[in-house]
């Protein structure tokens, strides 16, 4: 309660006058009788006089002092800070950014708390025109300016937070401008977990904090030739106030590796997690167990290549080799006439032109100018020339049997891995523009298709041809930010992580992801995986100092002054009536009877 005219309190000094008059005034009452002779000569009771006077008069004195106090207070123009029942307009803005999904200690998420606060505001101002907005990277008008509070309440109650980054000051201003002039709203209340970078005049910020968070703030994968696989690079942030034990699980859909962490409070730690044998192309890193905000407990990464390997087959078919290729991973055979680049060219009993580049697997085939296959002869003795070659990882070559093998003319010296006498059996060559692997005999002249190591040999071949791209060629795609897709070829379909197909216009060059996870992009060139993550900025804790300032400002602005002097005046009047009743109480009693 505030007093606009505090100097009126000096009137309380009049209490001294009332008390003085109380002691000075004549205290006798008048009592009219029919016959005075019955009263004349009666004995007064001086012994009890003081007590009786006190008993009768003191309540009156107290009431009189109360009246003086009430009148003085009324003159001091007291006012109470109360919420205003009706405004010219009100905008309720909910921060719909991903971090609002953080679960607080009250078991409700920040967004749920914001919704409750918003509903409470609607109840507080039942007849105020209101608009309900959601602020994020992609802001939304949940309810345009309306008097219909039922629809506003429904929209508010059914709204959900997004996975998008938080909106900027400009975004908020634009959002408010879409509903009218900023000055048209008597109150604009923003419920958020992060104060705006700069204050907007008239915007009250209610900061909803709570919930401790750990986050994977960075995740990438690159080839590790030493491991014949990959290495995952992670950064993990601990925003709690204590050490935390967590496990990071990195999964490529087939295999997974685990890493136990002890995370110090308030810091970010970087980790390298070896992932031998992994080829991708999709990777998921998960922090276990989860915490209050699960959006940053899981991160996604994909290699910039198709989920299937595009293979151009030249020459005779061989279902054993084709089956082994399919067993190593999804493949798509493209037409010879297709001029688009492919991951691998397989030539079987065929002749490839000299200008063929890229990855080339020759089975009893020629590469013009480089490898020439002669007539078959009885095969010589099988020998392992390079036992540590990656092509032989996990392969026992001594189980191979060859009935006949051709003479081979090699224009360049490469690496002979296996030999048959003097002739190469398994040979590879790496040039600037191409990698070539030669299996000299016809497969059908060997027992390779029947051995259990044949699929391993084919898998090693593919790993040699298709290494992990370097991480420098990739960056994270963020929810709410555009992801370019034109470089993957003509669009056929795009599927969200939830399985929902995303419809894009023909010729669309990018799309705006709305949720984190692995998106599946199908183009004429193949099928690609696209990783989308929640903005790492959503994992950053808000500045506690700014939070305190904003909350204080909100409390001051959400109250209006209610004048209280009429109430004090009415109470003073009632007190005067009570005083009169006390003074003439006996007469009132008789009148009542």
């Amino acid at each position: 309660m505030t007093l606009s005219n505090a100097s009126a309190l000096y009137l309380l000094a009049l209490a001294a006058g009332i008390i003085l008059l109380y002691f000075l005034r004549a205290r006798s009452q008048r009592y009219e009788v029919s016959a005075l002779f019955l009263w004349e000569g009666l004995r007064s009771e001086p012994s009890s006089r003081a007590a009786r006077i006190r008993r009768r008069i003191e309540p009156l004195l107290l009431v009189q002092l109360l009246v003086l106090a009430l009148v003085t207070l009324a003159l001091a123009d007291p006012a109470l800070r109360v919420p205003r029942p009706r405004l010219t307009g009100m905008a309720i803005v909910l921060d719909g950014s991903a971090s609002m999904q953080t679960r607080t200690e009250s078991t409700k998420t920040r967004y749920e708390l914001a919704r409750e606060e918003g509903l409470a505001l609607l109840n507080r101002y039942p007849s105020t025109p209101v608009t309900v907005l959601q602020l994020s990277k992609s802001p939304q008008v949940l309810v345009p300016l309306t008097d219909d509070h039922d629809s506003a309440r429904h929209a508010l109650a059914s709204s959900q937070p997004t996975w998008q980054p938080g909106g900027s000051v400009m975004t908020l201003e634009g959002l408010l401008d879409s509903q009218g002039e900023l000055g048209g709203f008597e109150r604009i209340i923003l419920f958020t977990d992060r104060p705006l970078a700069e204050q907007i005049p008239g915007v009250e910020e209610v900061v909803l904090a709570g919930g401790e968070n750990l986050a994977i703030t960075s995740f990438t994968v690159r080839e590790d030739p030493d491991l014949h696989g990959a290495a995952a690079f992670l950064k993990v942030q601990n925003d709690t106030s204590s050490y935390q034990e967590r496990t990071v699980r990195v999964d490529d859909g087939s295999n997974q590796v685990l890493l136990s962490l002890l995370l110090p409070p308030g810091g970010e730690q970087a980790y390298v997690l070896p992932f031998p044998g992994s080829r991708g192309p999709t990777f998921t890193a998960t922090l276990e167990p989860g915490d209050a905000f699960f959006g940053d407990d899981t991160r996604y990464f994909t290699l910039k290549r198709g989920l299937d390997r595009r293979i151009r087959w030249v020459g005779e078919n061989n279902r054993y080799l084709e089956a082994a290729l399919r067993a190593a991973g999804p493949i798509t055979f493209v037409s010879i006439k297709d001029s688009d680049p492919v991951d691998l060219t397989v030539a079987y009993n065929a002749l490839l032109p000299a200008e063929t580049n890229g990855n080339i697997l020759l089975i009893h085939a020629d590469l013009e100018g480089l490898i020439t296959i002669g007539e078959d002869r009885e095969a010589g003795k099988l020998a392992v020339v390079s036992p540590n070659d990656p092509l032989l990882t996990g392969v026992d070559a001594l189980d191979f049997r060859v009935r006949s093998a051709p003479l081979v003319d090699l224009a360049k010296a490469g690496t002979t891995v296996l030999s048959l006498g003097k002739e190469p059996f398994l040979y590879r060559l790496e040039e600037e523009k191409r990698k070539v692997v030669l299996i000299a005999p016809d497969l059908m002249s060997t027992n390779l298709p029947l051995t259990i190591d044949f699929p391993l040999l084919v898998r090693n071949l593919l790993e040699l041809f298709l290494p992990l791209p370097t991480p420098l060629t990739h960056r994270w795609a963020i929810v709410g930010e555009p992801v370019r897709i034109d470089e993957y070829g003509a669009l056929r379909s795009l599927t969200a992580p939830s399985g929902r197909e995303i419809s894009l216009a023909s010729g669309a060059r990018s799309f705006y992801p709305q949720e984190p996870g692995i998106y599946t992009l199908s183009t004429e060139k193949g099928v690609y995986a696209l990783a989308v993550n929640v903005d790492p900025a959503e994992s950053e804790p808000p500045d506690a100092l700014i939070e305190a300032q904003v909350v204080t400002a909100v409390k001051e602005q959400t109250q209006a002054l209610l004048p209280l002097w009429p109430y004090f005046a009415v109470i003073a009047f009632l007190a005067l009536l009570v005083e009169a009743f006390l003074y003439h109480g006996w007469q009132f009693k008789r009148w009542w009877r």
Partner: protein, 291 residues
């Protein structure tokens, strides 16, 4: 202002009659026995026949047994003057409701009863002297006259019962039934009442008091003021003071009761919180005033 009496109240009075103990010489035929013989159904006595008597009243049975010619005489029923003496001194305005209001209602009831029995009823307001009065007359037009007067009464002035009753005896030369309606909170009533008794009037005294006069609700430093004289005394009233007052009032009332009882005058003390119906139907009947 609320009417003094209503129809329901009058209906409840319809089966009541005054009881008159003595025989009076009225002017006209009425419902009360007269000392003179007359024509009625009530047998009075025998007397010797004298020429000119109506043969119809000769008792032939007596003549057969005693060989004397006697004629029967009958009680002569005559009317009765009823005087209502209403105290209008200033003290009668006290109380809640005012005592004069209660007295006026009682006076109206008495008037109705008297006029209904074909008696003459007169109203004599007084303070320390007789105020303009309504002379006793028959008929219900008198009732209206009395009611108008009772409505307009305004208590004021002092009380002097001895003086008023003496003046009343001097002004009315016919004895009758007198209802004295007063709070009797005064000194000097004995002489006046004695004069009435001496003239042969039948008197009924109804003393009307407010409950606060019987049990005062007053406490502390108080200026006690006489409503009639405006004289006052200053007292600090407490339980002891009130006890003294009660003793003094009781003594005053006992003195009145003692004097009136000694002269066989019916006396009724009516507090204004006593319902008028109760006073009339129970107290006055039990006191032998009504039947």
């Amino acid at each position: 202002m609320e009417p003094l009496i209503d129809e329901a109240f009058l209906k409840r009075l319809s089966n009541l009659k005054f009881i008159v103990k003595g025989r009076r010489k009225g002017h006209l035929s009425g419902a009360h026995p007269s000392p003179r013989a007359g024509v009625s159904l009530e047998f009075a006595d025998y007397r010797d026949y004298t020429p000119g008597d109506d043969f119809r009243y000769i008792d032939w049975n007596i003549y057969g047994r005693l060989d004397r010619v006697l004629v029967k005489t009958f009680v002569h029923e005559t009317d009765l003057p009823i005087y209502i003496l209403l105290d209008l001194s200033a003290s009668m305005r006290l109380g809640n409701p005012p005592k004069v209001r209660y007295a006026a209602r009682l006076a109206a009831a008495i008037s109705y009863l008297g006029l209904r029995e074909l008696d003459r009823v007169g109203l004599f307001p007084f303070t320390d002297r007789l105020l303009p009065a309504i002379a006793p007359r028959h008929g219900m037009s008198q009732m209206a006259h009395i009611l108008r007067t009772l409505h307009a009464v305004s208590p004021d002035g002092k009380t002097s019962l001895d003086q008023v009753l003496t003046e009343f005896v001097a002004r009315s030369n016919e004895s009758g039934l007198i209802f004295l309606l007063s709070d009797l909170l005064c000194k000097g009533y004995e002489e006046g009442i004695s004069r009435l008794l001496h003239r042969g009037d039948e008197i009924v005294v109804v003393q009307i008091l407010d409950p606060a006069e019987l049990h005062p609700v007053v406490e502390g430093s108080t200026r006690i003021t006489d409503a009639e004289t405006q004289r006052h005394v200053d007292l600090t009233v407490g339980g002891g003071t009130l006890a003294q007052y009660t003793r003094r009032l009781t003594a005053h009332l006992e003195a009145i009761r003692g004097f009136l009882t000694a002269h066989r005058i019916p006396y009724f003390l009516a507090s204004t919180d006593l319902p008028l119906d109760l006073l009339i139907h129970e107290r006055l009947r039990a006191g032998g005033v009504l039947k």
